[in-house]
């Protein structure tokens, strides 16, 4: 049954085309940035890594509106609750599906984006490692904020505001990995990511329960 839920979420993410929007947005930012700061390769290389992180974070916030709200409006969440499926389990499945549905294309898009921002091979590797570590946490935050705002009108903007402060540690340690002196950053990034990923299903589950009242 959980597998059916997981495939449904993944199919809806990939089937609707909504998945490509965040990835396109991510690439768009990477394309626009060199135009804005000029084609100075050393400058692009220094600033570009941080830009990739900001773009990845903002891209993760884009699909918040379609993660939980359509299921609530269609009555799918109610039907699952009637069948005794725990809200935490629904949230965990949604996080997993979002992490794979959004994370994989993002990782692939990372390579052209890095090329546009004049990142060399070593930095691309660091970026890919960091973002791969952060993806479960980003998915967890996205589902959490989607659950919290599914009952609100215009929840999308509020959803972004909710997530941003929680995602700041990911940004700091993720971009910190690019600094040659930041050797411990990867461990801190992994620790923050683990914490957010573990909290996500419980917090989002509580939010889903609140939607029914």
């Amino acid at each position: 049954m959980l597998i059916a839920l997981f495939w449904r979420d993944l199919r809806r993410a990939w089937g609707s085309g909504a998945l490509w929007l965040p990835v396109l947005f991510f690439l768009l930012v990477a394309t626009a940035f060199p135009f804005a700061v000029g084609p100075d390769a050393p400058l692009l290389q220094r600033a570009g890594g941080g830009m990739v992180w900001v773009a990845a974070l903002l891209a993760a916030l884009l699909p918040i509106d379609r993660l939980v709200r359509p299921d609530r409006d269609a009555g799918v969440l109610d039907q699952l609750a009637v069948r005794g499926v725990a809200d935490e389990v629904i949230a965990a499945v949604k996080i997993l599906a979002h992490a794979i549905g959004f994370g994989l294309p993002l990782l692939i898009a990372l390579f052209p984006a890095s090329a546009l921002l004049a990142q060399d091979a070593g930095r691309v590797e660091t970026l890919a490692t960091g973002i791969a570590i952060a993806i479960p946490a980003l998915a967890s935050l996205a589902v959490l904020s989607a659950s919290l705002t599914a009952g609100l009108k215009g929840g999308n903007a509020i959803g972004g505001l909710l997530v941003l402060p929680l995602a700041v540690p990911l940004l700091i340690f993720g971009a910190g990995m690019l600094d040659p002196s930041g050797r411990g950053a990867i461990k801190l990034l992994a620790a923050v990511s683990l914490l957010l990923t573990v909290i996500g299903p419980f917090a989002a589950g509580a939010a889903l329960r609140g939607l029914r009242e």
């Binding site: 049954m1 059916a4 839920l5 449904r8 809806r12 089937g15 609707s16 409006d73 269609a74 009555g75 799918v76 109610d78 039907q79 699952l80 609750a81 009637v82 069948r83 029914r212 009242e213």
Partner: protein, 194 residues
């Protein structure tokens, strides 16, 4: 144990309004109860309390078996063909394809199996939701306005499905503002409780 659903001295408050209190009812195998009353009397809220979706402000709700629910949302993915949308719930309920086939037969939906859910009319969508309920093979049916938008033929099929379900030992709690013509139906007037 023939009892499937028991509500004991249940009260429900929505916002700051008391919808009902001290409501006690029991449904045994083969029984059906019609919740009647005007709009806003609390029929839908009582259905949601019975389903466990809404916490009762007081009293206890006990269910002795799985529950199938119809409310205003069909819970079928709009972009999928009807059959695949129903198959999703069949997988969740771990029932096989034949059960879905039989349920579609009962509601005469076979000709529409390949039509996307978004193209269905209101009445057809209600019939599809009814297929989901029949196919779930849950003993307790909670039906909130199941006949909305259904034509006479579909209503007759709904009544027949309810009769079959009761004959097989299921129970039905029905909220509707009009009588559907279900034989041997107990009544609870929610309008008289307020």
């Amino acid at each position: 144990m023939t009892e499937l659903l028991r509500l004991d001295r249940v009260a429900c408050v929505r916002g700051d309004r008391l919808l009902f209190e001290g409501l006690t009812l029991a449904l045994n195998r083969g029984e059906a109860l019609w919740l009647r009353g005007p709009n806003g009397a609390g029929k839908s809220s009582l259905i949601r309390v019975a389903a466990g979706l809404l916490r009762a402000s007081a009293g206890t709700v006990e269910r002795f078996g799985r529950v199938a629910l119809i409310d205003e949302a069909a819970a079928l993915d709009a972009e999928l063909p009807l059959r695949r949308a129903l198959d999703f719930w069949a997988r969740v309920d771990t029932v096989d394809g034949h059960t879905v086939d039989r349920a579609m037969e009962a509601m005469a939906l076979h000709p529409l199996a390949e039509v996307p859910v978004s193209m269905l009319s209101t009445g057809q969508r209600k019939r599809a939701a009814m297929v989901r309920v029949i196919a779930s093979s849950a003993p307790i049916w909670l039906l909130d306005e199941p006949a909305n938008g259904m034509d006479d033929a579909a209503q007759a099929r709904l009544v027949a499905a309810v009769a079959t379900h009761r004959a097989n030992g299921g129970a039905v709690l029905l909220a509707s503002h009009f009588a559907l013509g279900i034989p041997d139906l107990a009544e609870l007037d929610m309008g008289a409780l307020a």
